[in-house]
């Protein structure tokens, strides 16, 4: 969350090699791609993989490294996951980039267009990225080991198994702790007593906000926003802007994310979260293995790692929701006890662009 540029002791895909490959792949077309394929020791991820952890680890170790692009969530979370992975599986280097979902998605799209294979595991926060990638046939169908450790409700987000739940987050009500009684539900925000005191992000700039807007729209009708507009909310860009506004005292309540709010709270800032009685909005952030992954077994091993206790501990340590009920969540509310609502991904595909247009009509921006 703090940092947006990649952490480089993890060694990023080197700029120079990359550029040469990009040009090569593009210039020589099929021949270039074949050469590159040979160059990186291609083995399609679809081929049979060892079905046990030890076997997978042994194969992965031969590959030596895994390339991971993630938007889950803050840099320190990604670092904690990397550290835990390396501790469990010594001998495999993790090259990772922590960036916003749009940036890593666009980068992947460009790579696919140019025929560059560098990425193994793609972890964005926007489920629509995955349905788009799936349609292009670039995701590997794979059932990671330990998927059964997830609560049943999260086990089959994609019926074809090309992507799985990688991280969970919620849009909740966040508030400045000078408030003794925060709003209890989404509709409370329509009360005139919150006039000039609400802060929200923008659905065009933030996937989380887009998700929240569609959920409110479907639950309460667009009228919700017509009424919200009367309370003159401050509109930022990212959903995390709400935390800034609340911590600085610019505004008192917001529609924010649990992770950033709790992370800020852990640093001593006057902010807390309230799970709305009319449902927290669940945001599923998927993870997937690329079909053309240069390190297919290491990729599978990393994806399987998501369902270990170590992974959940790393997430919890960095104020994020845990994937397993046996690791306590930082919010104090276990994952299977949260009352949540989730937009269907098909609904989001059409709903978010519509919501952005309607948002523009209602809020003027």
């Amino acid at each position: 969350m703090m940092e947006s540029a990649p952490h480089s002791d993890e060694v990023m895909p080197g700029g120079r090699t990359l550029s040469r490959r990009t040009v090569l792949g593009a210039g020589l077309g099929i021949v270039g791609q074949a050469l590159l394929g040979a160059d990186t020791g291609r083995r399609p991820a679809e081929a049979a993989a060892p079905a046990d952890e030890a076997g997978l680890y042994a194969e992965a170790k031969k590959e030596g490294k895994v390339v991971w692009w993630t938007a889950h969530y803050q840099l320190n979370a990604a670092e904690a996951v990397r550290d835990a992975f390396v501790a469990r599986y010594p001998g495999i280097e993790v090259q990772f980039i922590r960036q916003t979902a749009q940036v890593i998605y666009q980068r992947l799209t460009q790579n696919l267009k140019a025929g560059v294979r560098e990425l193994d595991v793609f972890a964005s926060t926007d489920e629509a990225h995955y349905t788009a990638l799936k349609r292009q046939g670039v995701l590997a169908a794979y059932r990671p080991l330990g998927l059964g450790n997830l609560p049943q409700a999260f086990q089959n987000v994609d019926p074809d198994g090309t992507y799985h739940v990688g991280a969970l987050g919620f849009v909740i009500i966040n508030y400045n702790t000078t408030l003794t009684i925060p709003p209890q539900k989404w509709t409370d925000l329509l009360d005139p007593r919150w006039k000039d005191q609400i802060t929200v992000g923008h659905p065009g700039f933030s996937g989380y906000v887009g998700n929240w807007v569609v959920a409110m729209w479907d639950k309460f009708g667009w009228d919700y926003f017509a009424k919200l507009a009367k309370n003159n909310p401050k509109i930022g860009r990212s959903i995390n802007d709400t935390v800034t506004d609340i911590v600085s005292g610019e505004r008192l309540v917001g529609a924010g994310s649990d992770g950033t709010s709790l992370d800020s709270r852990s640093r001593g800032n006057p902010v807390n979260i309230q799970f709305p009685a009319d449902d927290a909005i669940l945001i599923v952030s998927p993870v997937a293995v690329l079909k053309d992954a240069p390190h297919p077994n290491a990729a599978r091993l990393l994806e399987s790692f998501y369902y270990t206790k170590e992974y959940s501990l790393a997430m919890s340590k960095t104020s994020n929701y845990t994937l397993r009920a046996d690791v306590p969540a930082p919010s104090g509310v276990p994952i299977d006890r949260v009352k949540w609502y989730r937009n269907k991904v098909e609904r989001l595909e059409k709903g978010v662009p519509d919501a952005i247009a309607k948002w523009r009509e209602t809020f003027g921006v």
């Binding site: 703090m2 940092e3 947006s4 540029a5 700029g15 550029s19 990009t22 840099l75 003027g364």
Partner: protein
């Protein structure tokens, strides 16, 4: 003798040099023409299936949600131009024509405002003037007991003031250099005929420098309409979308780069037509008194007005530099800026974070410096070569080369970025994802500065020296390398710096062209702002500006103030 003769002839053959000039011309084509052509091509193709269609234009210019930003941008830019010209002209007049105290100080502070990117100023003004939490508003509430402060930076007025505070130096530079050439005789005559100083200034002095005022207004307008950072920070909360923020939205998922191209072209049309308008205005109202020859310039005696005028002139720098830098510095040294300057809130952790702890920030700093240096080098070399080719008419159609080199002047950064994206994010030449994408974009964007500098420096060179070398048998290339370049050394260094500085702080094109592996300081700053992490943002901003001002100071030390004289011509 007979052995030497063929050698002499061989040396004289201009082939090699012709090759160099042709390469320079080809690179210009690649930097300027190809991206702009690609915008045109992209704009008539559908985003979904790449089919040829005018639908993008229809969508971009019939939907009211896309027309609104155009209106907002025009209003914003027009207001900025007016305010910037008023500030710039008043300051220029006071500095160049009067005996006001602190003239050098005002000049230096104006230059410092010019170097400071407005998005950094906008961030600082959020700390100062956010409606509830801004420090100035809080101080006001504490002092007066009013329920809330009166400043609201999240407004059109806020954005206009912030952008104007950082673009008035253009008007200042143009007007002050023109004023320095105006002899006092005409003003004297007016005074003798009974006009007071106000009337003299209004009726005589200002009309004499009208072309410079118009040029200053145009530059400020171009800056404002192309500005991305400040509107993103201040106008989104103000519920106003402008062209640049709308263009940014087109690149969010699902991205619509071709629609963005269609939407960007009219922005280009606006800037080009303004430029042409300016050229026409300049041609009509030319007073030849501004000849640069003869005439004594006597500073205006302000008498009792000396200090009041100084107070007026120091106001823009207070708002553009002193308050903002104080706010940025205080924030960069705070654990949490919202807590204000209270005990226990002081920390150097963010500088440690940016310079030591965080590899991402460190890499971004290294990228910024190396990309800006590379861009400055490319732009300078290209500018000298093409200005030489144009000045000495070495190529057929050399004039076109000159136009090409100056063309990016009227292309807003964001439009250029969209062109680069359209042209070089796809085969056959994929620059996207590499450092070259940013380097070439920066070099292109600021090429006109280097070109204008090289052109005027070359014009001031007498041909005699070159001709002497040529007569003695030196080839064109050798003459250029051994005679012309050394004579231009000073101007070349100045050009290099004048490209390096804006490249280092460039946001509006970087935001479209970077990838995780090539992020520069401004990308990290933008992301940090997106996430409301103002403390590390301020630390990075201060580091960026320390680098810039450090470089300026070194250059000043080495070459004296003349290095930055170029600015007035660019």
């Amino acid at each position: 003798m007979s052995a030497a003769a063929p050698l002499l002839i061989a040396r004289r053959r201009p082939d090699l040099s012709l090759g160099v000039w042709t390469v320079a011309a080809a690179i210009l084509l690649f930097m300027v023409v190809v991206p702009l052509a690609w915008i045109l091509v992209a704009s008539v193709h559908a985003d979904q299936d790449n089919r040829l269609t005018p639908a993008n234009y229809v969508e971009a210019f019939t939907k009211s949600i896309y027309l609104e930003p155009v209106r907002n941008s025009l209003i914003l830019a027009a207001l900025v131009a007016v305010i910037a010209v008023v500030f710039g002209t008043v300051l220029a007049w006071a500095v160049s024509r009067t005996d006001m105290p602190g003239r050098t100080l005002i000049r230096m502070l104006t230059f410092a405002s010019f170097v400071t990117p407005s998005f950094l100023g906008a961030t600082a003004w959020i700390f100062l003037a956010a409606p509830h939490s801004g420090w100035l508003n809080r101080a006001w509430v504490a002092l007066t007991g009013a329920p809330r402060g009166f400043l609201n930076i999240y407004s059109l007025a806020g954005a206009v003031c912030v952008i104007a505070l950082y673009s008035y130096p253009y008007a200042f530079a143009f007007v002050s250099s023109a004023l320095e050439l105006v002899p006092s005789e005409m003003e004297r005559s007016a005074e003798l005929l009974g006009a007071n100083w106000l009337r003299t200034t209004w009726r005589i002095t200002l009309p004499l420098v009208r072309p410079a005022i118009i040029a200053g207004a145009l530059m400020s307008f171009l800056e404002a309409i192309a500005e991305f950072g400040t509107p993103a920070f201040l106008l989104i909360p103000a519920r106003q979308q402008v062209i640049t923020t709308q263009l940014y939205l087109f690149f969010q998922f699902p991205s619509r780069p071709n629609l963005a191209a269609a939407y960007a072209l009219p922005l280009l049309a606006v800037t080009v037509s303004l430029f042409l308008l300016q050229q026409r205005l300049l041609r009509r109202g030319r007073f030849t008194t501004v000849s640069g020859k003869g005439g004594v310039r006597v500073p205006f005696r302000l008498g009792p007005w000396r200090w009041p005028v100084f107070a007026i002139c120091i106001t823009p720098p207070i708002f553009s530099l002193i308050l903002p830098y104080a706010a940025l510095l205080a924030t960069s040294l705070s654990h949490a800026w919202g807590r204000g300057p209270v005990p226990g809130n002081l920390t150097f952790a963010w500088y440690h974070w940016a310079l030591v702890e965080n590899q991402g920030a460190r890499r971004a700093i290294a990228h910024s410096v190396s990309y800006a240096a590379a861009a400055a080098t490319i732009a300078t070399v290209l500018a000298v070569c093409s200005a030489y080719a144009v000045g000495r008419r070495l190529l057929p159609g050399a004039r076109i080369l000159g136009y090409l080199a100056m063309a990016p002047f009227v292309v807003p950064g964001i439009v250029l970025a969209i062109g680069f994206f359209a042209a070089y994010a796809r085969p056959p030449l994929v620059l996207y994802g590499t450092a070259w994408m940013l380097i070439v974009a920066f070099a292109t964007r600021f090429l006109p500065i280097a070109y204008a500098g090289s052109e005027s420096a070359l014009r001031s060179l007498d041909l005699e020296l070159e001709n002497a070398a040529r007569t003695l048998g030196s080839g064109r290339l050798r003459t250029f390398g051994r005679i012309t370049i050394p004579l231009l050394r000073r101007s070349i260094l100045a050009n290099w710096l004048m490209v390096f500085i804006p490249s280092l702080r460039e946001l509006s094109s970087a935001v479209f062209l970077f990838t995780p592996a090539t992020a520069v300081i401004t990308n990290v700053i933008f992301d940090l702002s997106d996430e409301g992490n103002f403390e590390p943002l301020s630390a990075l901003g201060i580091i960026m500006m320390a680098l810039t001002f450090g470089l300026v100071a070194v250059a000043y030390r080495l070459f004296g103030g003349g290095v930055f004289g170029q600015r007035q011509r660019a």
